[in-house]
């Protein structure tokens, strides 16, 4: 199977997951709160007289383990749903092939559970 990882702005987490489920039928995701730095400039902070830049902005990192066949539609759904219309900061997506995808409760390969 394939792991699709996406960095998105936090406000979009549920939109993105909705879109994946609605457009590909894939269910299953793990979300981690992250902070990111990219083309987008960070925040100018002021604290007790110090003015300084922080390059970080709040993001979320989503991990989907999907059937290989679903990779393209899932990536498309994410990219589409993650687009906020703001000038910057919408994040990126990447994918990797993964092996031994095991389902803890049953001990079976996840694929078989999915169909089950």
């Amino acid at each position: 199977m394939t792991k699709v990882e996406a960095v998105v702005i936090r406000e979009r987490v549920e939109t993105v997951i909705d879109a994946v489920e609605a457009e590909t039928g894939h269910v299953g995701v793990t979300v981690v709160e992250a902070i990111g730095h990219g083309r987008q400039r960070g925040v100018t902070h002021e604290y007790r007289g110090r003015v300084f830049e922080s390059r970080f902005l709040p993001k979320a990192l989503l991990t989907f383990i999907v059937e290989d066949a679903l990779v393209r539609p899932v990536v498309a759904a994410i990219a589409d749903a993650a687009r906020s219309g703001h000038e910057s900061g919408d994040g990126i997506i990447w994918t990797t092939r993964v092996e031994n995808v095991t389902h803890n409760r049953t001990g079976l390969p996840l694929a078989e559970v999915e169909v089950a």
Binding site: V43, R50, V51, S54
Partner: protein, 466 residues
């Protein structure tokens, strides 16, 4: 020393300490509101209470106190602006002859903290989206507005007081007024981004810290023992010695009934014993008993509190249903419960207690007469019209001229970082617990990696600064 002077001294001890308890309610509102809003706005929401109490204290000293309690006519006080040391030290003399048994300074202290509470209520409904300067501008405006109405209802010469309106500690003056301005603000600001979906359905925006909200509520309960009992303004009330203890009792049983009423209503209506609703129930009960605390029997206080507790639950739902975004529930908890408390006094006021306080007459329940209820209603209507229209007008004008709501990106990023420059909880957004500089320094200590200095931050402000 004459006993009469000693009585004044004792009155002053009581009134000043009561005022101090009420002042602490600012911390209660700060934490109630910070707890019921989001992390990204926590510093702003908590900090604004310090700001507005600052604004209020200065404005009230300059003009508000004179308008409210300076000698004047039935509409407004016309003396006692920027009072002098002597005017504050004198007792029962112009311009503050209203305060016959405490020094003017004690009067100021006790009344300014009430103004501060009313102002704190205003911002609850405007939370998470108002521009910072609005706190200064509307805070000043509202403090004056508030002073006028408090003159009507509390000053011996005020026209509503003369009609016999009963508002012991300010269900109408403090809470209902604050809620009216809060409503105006919420309407003019509009809902927070995401509060209502495209289909108009309300989305929950959970507050970020329930323990804060609990602390805030308990501080408010604590402070309310200054709020209501302190409103006796002395230790002897008519015939009764230590009457304020009785007022404290009605306050406490009402608040307790509000907690139970609130959680029960939530359990029934929402099918969950919602903690935040129980807290709202307590506050709504305290708001309702505020007008009644000196006038009613203990059993009536329990009824008033329990009903107020359920009003909070249903009211919060209803305000949201009609499309108003009131993050703290100020309109329901201070407005609706304030109306209920004011009317309930007209229902349950014990004739003997009203007589002892020389304010109005007995309530419907005892006298069978609608007179007192009518007076209470009249007060609500006139104050409602006056305060809502002027608040709405002022905020509408500000909105038109300069705009009162922050830009979308500011609201999304959060007021803490966007307006004040720093998160309320920086370590949740910045991965360097040792501070920004730690690594550029600490690795000098070890035989660690050396790299080009971090680019000089844009801190050219300082040289001139120091």
């Amino acid at each position: 020393m004459k006993t009469a002077d000693l009585i004044i001294a004792v009155n002053t001890v009581w009134v000043v300490l009561a005022a101090v308890l009420v002042m602490f309610m600012q911390a209660g509102f700060a934490f109630l509101e910070a707890g019921l809003t989001r992390m990204k706005n926590a510093a702003h929401i908590a900090g604004k209470n310090v700001l507005i109490f600052g604004v209020c204290s200065i404005v009230y000293w300059a003009v508000g106190f004179g308008i409210a309690f300076g000698d004047g006519n039935s509409i407004v006080g016309t003396s006692g602006f920027f009072p002098s040391t002597d005017e504050f030290l004198s007792i029962g003399a112009a311009p503050f002859s209203f305060f016959a048994s405490i020094p003017g300074a004690a009067g100021y202290l006790f009344e300014v903290v009430f103004a501060g509470v009313s102002l704190a209520i205003v911002w609850g409904a405007m939370a998470e989206r108002a521009k910072l300067w609005v706190y200064f501008a509307f805070g000043t405006f509202f403090t004056v507005l508030y002073s006028v109405v408090s003159h009507w209802i509390w000053h011996a010469g005020g026209w509503l007081f003369s009609l016999g309106m009963q508002d012991f500690a300010g269900s109408t003056v403090v809470h209902y007024q604050g809620a009216l301005a809060a409503l105006a603000g919420a309407l003019l600001l509009g809902p927070r981004i995401g509060k209502f979906g495209h289909d108009g359905r309300a989305n929950p925006i959970p507050g970020h810290n329930m323990p804060y909200a609990v602390l805030g509520t308990l501080i408010l309960w604590f402070g309310w023992f200054g709020f209501n009992p302190g409103s006796t303004l002395g230790v002897v009330t008519g015939e009764n010695i230590g009457y304020f203890a009785y007022v404290a009792l009605t306050t406490n049983v009402a608040a307790a009934a509000g907690a139970l009423g609130g959680i029960a209503a939530a359990w029934l209506v929402l099918r969950k014993p919602d903690v935040s609703m129980m807290l709202n129930g307590v506050i709504a009960a305290l708001v309702a008993i505020t007008a009644a605390s000196g006038f009613v029997a203990p059993w009536a206080a329990v009824v008033i509190g329990a009903v107020a507790g359920s009003i909070a639950v249903v009211g919060v739902l209803w305000v949201e249903r009609i499309g108003i975004d009131d993050p703290i529930g100020a309109v329901a908890v201070h407005g609706m419960a304030g109306v209920w408390g004011t009317l309930a006094t007209g229902l349950f006021a014990v004739p003997a207690l009203a007589a002892n306080l020389a304010t109005g007459s007995g309530g419907l329940f005892y006298t069978g007469s609608f007179h007192q209820l009518g007076v209470q209603a009249l007060g609500l209507v006139t104050v409602g019209a006056f305060t809502f229209s002027l608040s709405f007008g002022a905020l509408w004008t500000m909105k038109r001229l300069w705009g009162i709501r922050v830009e979308e990106h500011v609201e999304t990023a959060g007021l803490d970082v966007a307006e004040h420059g720093m998160w309320g909880y920086p370590e949740f957004y910045i991965p360097v617990p040792g501070g920004y500089g730690t690594e550029s320094h600490s690795h000098l200590l070890g035989p660690g990696h050396r790299h080009e200095p971090v680019p000089e931050p844009v801190s050219e402000a300082q040289p001139e600064a120091a």
